[in-house]
């Protein structure tokens, strides 16, 4: 009975929410905008909420709380087998030959790399950074400006872009050292915005809102991927027909390599004193100081190394797009990367990869799925739902994120594996691991 009442209340809340959002549509009428009511669509959603809530309550009533724990352990154990599977899948993806999937894979890998970079700052050192996109932007513009002004190649600029981004990371680190928690988050948020606004307004250097075009593509040991098939090109050297897909595949493997490098360095660092100090800092800063750890420098290295990988990813972004503009570096990018890290589980490499696949790849798949579903539902009863369904993408996605965080509040892969052990490393339960307050 309580369940029924609870479901009824949820339905009323849903009615209040979706009534105006879904139930009313504005359309161009005879005298300007006109309102049209859509009772059917609203009723469907409210009904879904009602039965969904009822189902959830009955499900929760039956399963005891302990199974959640067992589930967590099963997920962790499955993770051991998941890593090689994902690696092989990522390596084999270009063999599908589908440009759509390779492009999507490249995008996902870029976010995985950014996630791993930010994971150093947020997941390991526990410093909440809302302006990570700033380093991505610095990397992208460093490559764009160096390449278009001095004619330097991608492989020369890649380390430079990373170093410049790291430099900015350290510069950002200095003023924020004294700040913790919310204050740190706000300052990093501001820093991200400052970089973007400087990029817009410093027209002489960055070409302002128009962005920088004609950024050179990367080469494979000096072989360019151009369409003329001449002797200095990839196609000419291997004596094959030049095709755009060759470059797409090459870019895919470049970001694959860069992401693996990020992962490898993070994993190595976690086993070294520096990585351990980051984690200790996340656990208890005061205790770190009492043990003679230079808290400021340790935070700075976390910022710097996180920014370094952001810069690498940025340089890759610039060379892939051949165009950069400030529009690409808005707060939403920082938020996406942070969401990937939090959803994946702070500090977990596998979790971040999974979260990036779900958040970036899943969103794309959902778009396809919804438009196919919309086509299936072409009927007078549902009205013009075919065109509208894809618009609900973000709504469904947001809902999925909320559900996921309710079920697994510490992220997909939330345990912590110690980097060193006397006998055998044991997984540490997430309840014990601190999340860091900056």
């Amino acid at each position: 009975m309580t369940a029924l009442r609870d479901a009824f209340l949820s339905a009323i809340v849903a009615l209040g929410l979706f009534g105006p959002l879904v139930g009313l549509v504005t359309a161009n009428g005879e005298h300007g905008l006109a309102l049209t009511a859509r009772p059917v669509a609203t009723a469907v959603i409210v009904g879904l909420v009602f039965f969904g809530r009822l189902l959830m309550l009955s499900w929760r009533g039956r399963t005891p709380r302990a199974t959640n724990r067992a589930l967590a352990e099963r997920i962790t154990r499955a993770g051991k087998y998941l890593t090689p599977v994902l690696l092989v899948a990522a390596f084999a993806l270009p063999f599908t030959g589908s440009r759509y999937y390779i492009d999507l894979g490249t995008l996902v890998l870029t976010y995985i790399m950014l996630g791993w970079g930010l994971n150093i700052v947020v997941g390991l050192a526990g410093l909440l950074d809302l302006g990570y996109v700033a380093f991505y932007a610095v990397g992208a513009y460093s490559y764009a400006i160096l390449a278009t002004t001095f004619g330097l190649g991608f492989w020369t600029c890649l380390p430079l872009a990373g170093i410049l981004a790291a430099l900015w990371g350290v510069l950002l680190g200095f003023p924020v050292l004294r700040l913790r928690g919310d204050y740190l988050a706000i300052v990093t948020l501001a820093f991200g915005e400052i970089i973007r606004i400087v990029l817009i307004n410093w027209v002489s250097l960055t070409n302002g809102p128009n962005g920088i075009t004609g950024i050179p593509r990367p080469t494979l040991f000096g072989l360019a991927f151009s369409m003329d098939g001449g002797p200095g090109t990839f196609a000419g050297f291997f004596n094959i027909e030049p095709a755009v897909i060759q470059r797409i595949i090459f870019l895919y493997y470049v970001i694959f390599g860069l992401a693996l490098l990020t992962n490898w360095v993070s994993l190595r660092l976690r086993r070294l004193p520096l990585g351990r100090a980051w984690e200790a800092l996340r656990e208890d800063e005061v205790a770190c100081r009492s043990l003679g750890i230079n808290v400021r420098n340790t935070k700075l290295t976390a910022f710097g190394i996180g920014a370094l990988f952001g810069g690498f990813a940025g340089a890759f972004f610039a060379t892939r797009q051949a165009f950069v503009s400030p529009e690409s570096f808005t707060f939403i990018e920082s938020a996406t990367v942070l969401a990937i890290v939090v959803l994946g589980g702070l500090g977990s490499q596998l979790g971040v990869a999974l979260a990036a696949i779900v958040m970036v790849g899943g969103l794309e798949v959902l778009r396809d799925l919804l438009s196919t579903l919309g086509d299936q539902l072409h009927s007078p009863f549902f009205g013009d739902i075919a065109n509208e369904l894809p618009l609900y993408r973000m709504l469904i996605f947001g809902l999925a994120l909320v559900v996921m965080m309710v079920l697994r509040p510490r992220g997909l892969v939330s345990g912590r594996t110690p980097g060193v052990a006397l006998t055998k490393p044991k997984e540490i339960a997430p309840e014990l691991v601190a999340q860091g307050r900056g």
Binding site: N294, L432, A434
Partner: protein
């Protein structure tokens, strides 16, 4: 080895410590006692660099000519790293989400970090880091044996029972190779058996050549193991001497049992 001279610490209008002077001799266990709010922890925080004193000096001289450090002017982490003063906290501050072993390795951060070649070499897996880490684990193992936690080395520190957490915090502090170990109420919350084990551990630490400075409420611990006691009340020193001397001091008894206010009308 540690000499505190005219130490004063103000928090706004409150004088938490009022021109306090005392000495802690090398190889001694020096206890700082006093009623609640007497300023004991404030003194500790000044010595270990968590507070900067309003005035006064704190000078640490390493035994056997290891140099002299003006602690009141050093940044907090240097006091542990260079002056080799370690401390524990009243409310235990372990790295709860890290294993017992990791806790002990974090304490050796500076030694281990020096062996990584600015991190780059160790990331690439070359250089002498591997040997340094093995030595670090060996030292951790020594302290694990000393506190009886070897079998739990790979468990998270936060999962240990309270008494074990107290011992681990002391072992962690010992991993920085201190010349002076400052303990803030190490026996708080321990049962009599654990308290006795703690006494043995502290005596063992002293026998290894490390001096101790401790704040303690548990008079059993204080009287049994201290070589020298400093008594504080309202931020001032009211007594200073060996345990029997302090125990016989009427001022100390008055401070602990309470004394009639001067304007109180006798019954």
């Amino acid at each position: 080895m540690l000499s505190v001279t005219d130490l004063t610490m103000r928090f706004g209008g409150l004088k938490a410590v009022d021109s306090l002077s005392f000495e802690a001799r090398a190889g001694d266990i020096t206890a700082v006692i006093g009623p609640n709010g007497a300023g004991k922890t404030t003194v500790f925080n000044c010595i270990t660099g968590f507070y900067r004193p309003t005035s006064g000096t704190i000078v640490l001289t390493h035994p056997a000519g290891g140099g002299t450090f003006a602690l009141e002017r050093m940044p907090g982490h240097r006091i542990a790293a260079a002056a080799k003063v370690a401390r524990t906290f009243q409310n235990i501050r372990l790295f709860a989400g890290m294993t017992v072993l990791e806790n002990l390795l974090v304490a050796q951060h500076n030694t281990l970090m020096a062996a990584t070649g600015f991190g780059v070499l160790a990331v690439l897996g070359v250089g002498r880091y591997r040997a340094a880490e093995a030595a670090g684990i060996e030292k951790a193992r020594f302290w694990l044996d000393a506190i009886g936690l070897t079998s739990r080395a790979d468990d998270p520190a936060g999962a240990l029972p309270y008494g074990a957490q107290r011992r681990l915090e002391i072992a962690r502090a010992m991993c920085i190779d201190p010349v002076l170990l400052c303990l803030d109420e190490p026996a708080a919350g321990l049962n009599p058996r654990e308290s006795e084990e703690l006494n043995q551990l502290l005596l063992r630490i002293r026998s290894l050549g490390c001096s101790l400075l401790l704040i303690e409420h548990d008079m059993g611990v204080v009287m049994r193991i201290s070589d020298h006691i400093v008594v504080l009340d309202h931020g001032k020193k009211i007594s200073d001497g060996s345990p029997p001397e302090v125990r016989a001091d009427p001022g100390v008894i008055a401070a602990y049992l309470g004394e009639g206010d001067e304007d109180e009308v006798p019954a």
